[in-house]
């Protein structure tokens, strides 16, 4: 069957074992791996590298699209294989290594890595390992369930290792649209004016001589683990859908809304699922990562088309969708992440962006990455590409955490990922604050009344009133601004009586 998977016959001689391919990776190299949203990851070669590093030390600088699954990021860190990592991760063990200072992590906007690399501002990979459905007659690479940064990484790498995953459907071919923005200053406009527009090729072009090894792989992506909607996430969805209905009624949105960008995670997925019962029709997505809700809405006839860079599904849905991916070939396109997240296209198409906050403050500044201002969870991902440039920027979170010990609405966030200018709408299970065209002091009142948990409102009012007595555009008392976080660190809860 390999003649369908490796259609350039001269490449058959490069088939080798994962261990032999892994042996090409030398100490000190920059290693590229396919993978974005824990999807389309190179797996066989990384596993072999981890095995090798258990016996002989090896250190690389690792660059991917975004997060990679199956605990590979963590295992690479645990055996000391990764000294540097960019631009995103979502692995508990790697997170520990980053927060302890063992791994130098460069948290980047998902649109930026490729831009900086093509301009020589960051190093290209010495070796790129890319998972593929097939290699074409021209020696070009057909990716699997994500594109991420694979297009540029393959083109800029000195050597390429291809993992042909024989458990992926050949029907993936044709779903991708590989377009790599030109080097500036000679760049032309991207001719995308609708989510479904195609401007590239169905495979990643490269000189096939760069392919130094081909590994046959049967490993699966780790399935997504998404918590089912609960009472709180349902309320968040209800508040948001109610707001969008009002926008339609006011004539500011049509009944198919605007292209939707929805971040990864249980809350955002619940919001999307809530659209199934909404009056909106013919929805489209311009997003990064497609989750279960995308396919549920498509199957329900609510969603017409989705553009993204990656698909990550739960086990049950994945079994059905991935084996029948051809059925979605006219409804989905996967693009490089510096196209899905490109400021040019985002501003032109004008999506409604829904992302998750770790915490936000009285004036609408959002922290989406760092716990207590210090410890990273995952990374900023594409939220900044969208929040700054989108039509409507919405952040969602539950109002409290840890059984109420933590308020997600705080006097001052311990770290800022998204500045107040980039936030239009904030939603918790308590309600929704429409911050458009409001000054900070006006924002604070809405945020306390509509978003904060009742148990924290009095304390927020007290802080705000005291700060206003001191004055300022965004009134603060800097000696107390971070006291809730200090309380949490010292006493396990934000409010101490």
């Amino acid at each position: 069957m390999l003649h369908k998977r490796i259609r350039l016959p001269s490449l058959h001689s490069r088939i080798t074992s994962a261990a032999e391919a892994a042996a090409l990776v030398k100490d000190g190299m920059t290693l590229g791996l396919s993978g974005c949203g824990c999807s389309g990851d190179a797996k066989a070669v990384p596993y072999a590298l981890i095995e090798r590093a258990r016996h002989s030390p090896l250190t690389v600088s690792l660059v991917t699209g975004a997060s990679i699954g199956n605990g590979i990021d963590g295992k690479l860190a645990e055996v000391g294989l990764v000294s540097r990592r960019k631009p995103f991760q979502a692995d508990p063990a790697l997170r520990r290594a980053i927060n302890s200072g063992k791994v130098m992590f460069v948290d980047q906007h998902l649109s930026e890595t490729a831009e900086q690399m093509r301009h020589g501002q960051i190093d290209p990979p010495d070796i790129m390992v890319v998972e593929a459905v097939a290699i074409t007659e021209q020696g070009h690479i057909v990716p699997t369930s994500s594109v991420g940064n694979s297009g540029l990484l393959v083109q800029m790498a000195k050597q390429v290792i291809v993992e042909i995953n024989i458990n992926t459907s050949l029907d993936w071919e044709g779903l991708h649209d590989i377009y790599l923005p030109e080097v500036r200053p000679n760049r032309s406009p991207m001719a995308i004016t609708r989510s479904e527009d195609r401007i590239g090729t169905s495979a990643i072009p490269l000189d096939p001589d760069k392919i130094v090894a081909i590994v046959i792989s049967e490993y699966s992506d780790a399935p997504a683990t998404i918590l089912p909607p609960d009472e709180d996430t349902r309320r968040i969805a209800d508040h948001l859908i109610g707001f969008l209905k009002d926008e339609v009624d006011a004539g500011r949105l049509s009944n198919n809304l605007a292209p939707l960008q929805v971040g990864v995670g249980s809350i955002a997925n619940a919001v999307m699922s809530g659209l199934a019962d909404s009056p909106f029709e013919d929805l489209i997505m311009w997003s990064e990562i497609l989750q279960d809700s995308t396919f549920e809405l498509m199957d329900a006839g609510k969603l017409k088309f989705a553009s993204a860079t990656s698909v990550i599904l739960t086990e049950a849905l994945g079994q059905r969708v991935f084996s029948n991916i051809g059925e979605y070939s006219d409804k989905i396109v996967l693009r490089p992440q510096d196209v899905s997240n490109h400021p040019e296209v985002i501003r032109r198409l004008g999506p409604i962006s829904i992302n998750t906050a770790l915490e936000f403050d009285l004036y609408g500044n959002v922290n989406s990455t760092l716990i207590g201002g210090t410890d990273i969870m995952n990374g900023i991902g594409g939220s900044g590409d969208f929040a700054r440039n989108t039509f409507m920027s919405i952040f969602v979170t539950k109002s409290t955490a840890k059984n109420g010990a933590i308020s997600r609405v705080v006097p001052m966030v311990s770290h800022v990922d998204h500045i107040q200018q980039d936030i239009d709408i904030l939603v918790t299970e308590q309600g929704l604050a429409d911050l458009r065209d409001l000054a900070p002091r006006e924002r604070a009142k809405l945020i306390i009344e509509h978003c904060a948990h009742p148990d924290y409102r009095e304390a927020l009012w007290a802080y705000f009133d005291k700060a206003c007595a001191k004055g300022g555009y965004t009134p603060h008392d800097l000696s107390e601004a971070l006291s809730w976080h200090v309380n949490l660190e010292n006493h396990g809860r934000m409010l101490v009586s």
Copy 2:
């Protein structure tokens, strides 16, 4: 001579006094004024409004391009005329009114106001007052020294008042390129691939019936006041130019660099002036506001072309340039600020952006708006449009202020306008930190050693070491993170022994 200034004869009957025009403004209205970078401001009608408000109370919500000069913003605030203001200001009296909570100021990215207005997310003006060189045969409006938001504000206003400024050169006509992005989702790519590309019209199109009054004005824009380069700003320029030379030598930039965006102010202007003695040739600008240095570099043959939304010059240079503006007609174009600052074009052209920081922290987060986290100076302006989307984002500042009582490099900024992901290069008179591709702990070391003043390095190292002992991706001790600002508030200096 008015037949050259008002070329649609039917409009001559609408000439009236400033006081009569001002009487059209009613209490509670949204008022639009031309003006951006204290340039091209409506002046006669605002003066008349201020006079009127001294006798009979009147309150409006005011929207402009950006800052307006001649103290008009402050006088409007002092007579209680302005209850709401957006998207930018730079007036001491208005600043006091904002910081005391009397005026609700909405600090917006300069590219955002027009986007939100055309989509109904913020209210259009009831009346728009626009300064003009002339009204064309079609009744269209030729702006003066700025475009700002005047294009969209004129188009969306219910009524338009034109101030024909007879002291402006008729040769301004032809320097503007009025292009208003379409309403989404049906927006086409902007066909700008070089700074000099023109895609619009030379005047603001509108139905001339909307012009309800024409006022003849002789008021001048307030000239820019720019401090001459001093020893520190010269050093900042030297560090930056040395870095750019290295980038050229490394092959990452060509000898004409990339289009330059340079923020307003003395430091940025000094950096630009420093380019006169650099080896770089055939420079171009893609910027917001053109200052003296633009024309000095043009006259010196260093700068080929400059695109912006506004020109603001010192008195001496202004007298020469503005009376001979026709000589620059093939070297300058002025565009709407949602074109000059449009994410699409910024990402495509890839400028080198040089903006001024109020302070920055160990990890490279930049505060450019709020003193002590609370009191606004001017506003974020266009710095966020550029810093997020540009090719290379550079921020400059002197390392100390107030005779050394204030360090501009602090453990944690008291407010974040630009997140660490958006900062490539930081420069003070002490040196330059190239932060590209570095993790936060690596950034901190460079920032302390290269940018902080020697008097503060030991204290910064002490904070950083203590924070690292606690751990984290961006190590902080939240109980001390803002203590330097608290010291400043309580003791008048950041370090207290």
